[in-house]
Amino acid sequence: MNPIPQYLLTAFDASYANVLWGSALFLVAVFIIYSLFLLYHWLRYGEKRPAIRFCMFLYFGVSFMLFGSLFIALSNIAF
């Protein structure tokens, strides 16, 4: 096994799957908080403009696609 991840697993006493799932869930938490910040600003200052609405749809659409591929890949690695 590659020495660098082997060291990380030993140092944190974690399994490979736990590290990946933990990283994914941390990313979900960061995404939720960041998205709430963005939504607040869009709704407060966006003045219901079409560009803001388009951006909202695009942002959540692309984000969910990326999350989909992330979790599908994760389930293939560590399930």
């Binding site: 995404f31 960041y34 200052y45 966006g46 984000s63 990326l66 999350f67 591929s69 890949a73 994760l74």
Partner: protein, 187 residues
């Protein structure tokens, strides 16, 4: 919105920064997002020897997709944040005031309002070949208020905007003059 229109006040113009500015910012984010993929494409399959260890650059497909999706997601969030910051910076010119709304970061928004009758000088500045060819630049506005000078950076067609400010200022002066005349006649 951050401000209320007064009675008999109407919007004449609303402007954001020139599109070139956001494109440059987004290209920067895009390049950073793609660097790991480019490096991986260049290094895949190559062998490195460190001491007694031989390291082969390789990632299983599922792990590559996982890491790639996570990386792209982070930079996608950043790109949308950059666009939001750009879009929420607005200059509004009415027949009475100039309103400068600037989003400086999350939960940091600055709204400055300058009355047209307080404006003393309007200067247009265009730097370099790109600004000249794409017709954008800075407008420096000197006022008689507490904040003596404010600058609109990267505004499209700055000469037209300056002309509009000066026309609106002249119209405001004419309105005051005619109101004063009517009041004096009334007396």
């Amino acid at each position: 919105m951050g401000y209320q229109l007064e009675s008999n006040e109407s919007k004449l113009l609303e402007r954001r920064k020139h599109w070139f500015i956001i494109v440059v910012d987004l290209i920067g984010v895009g390049i950073l997002a793609l660097i790991p993929f480019i490096l991986y494409g260049m290094l895949i399959g190559k062998t490195f020897t460190i001491g007694a260890q031989t390291i082969v650059i390789y990632l299983p497909t599922a792990l590559f997709i996982f890491l790639g999706s996570a990386w792209l997601l982070i930079f996608w969030m950043r790109a949308v944040g950059v666009w939001t910051d750009y879009y929420l910076d607005v200059w509004t010119i009415t027949n009475k005031r100039i309103i400068d709304q600037e989003q400086k970061g999350f939960f940091h928004r600055e709204t400055s309002i300058f009355r047209l009758d307080r404006i003393q000088d309007v200067t247009v500045e265009t730097h370099g070949i790109i600004q000249t060819l794409l017709h954008f630049g800075d407008i420096h506005v000197q006022t008689a208020g507490e904040r003596r000078k404010f600058i609109m950076h990267g505004i499209a067609n700055p000469r037209d905007v300056r002309a509009m400010i000066l026309r609106a200022q002249d119209a405001m002066s004419d309105r005051y003059a005619s109101n004063t005349e009517q009041n004096q006649t009334g007396l």
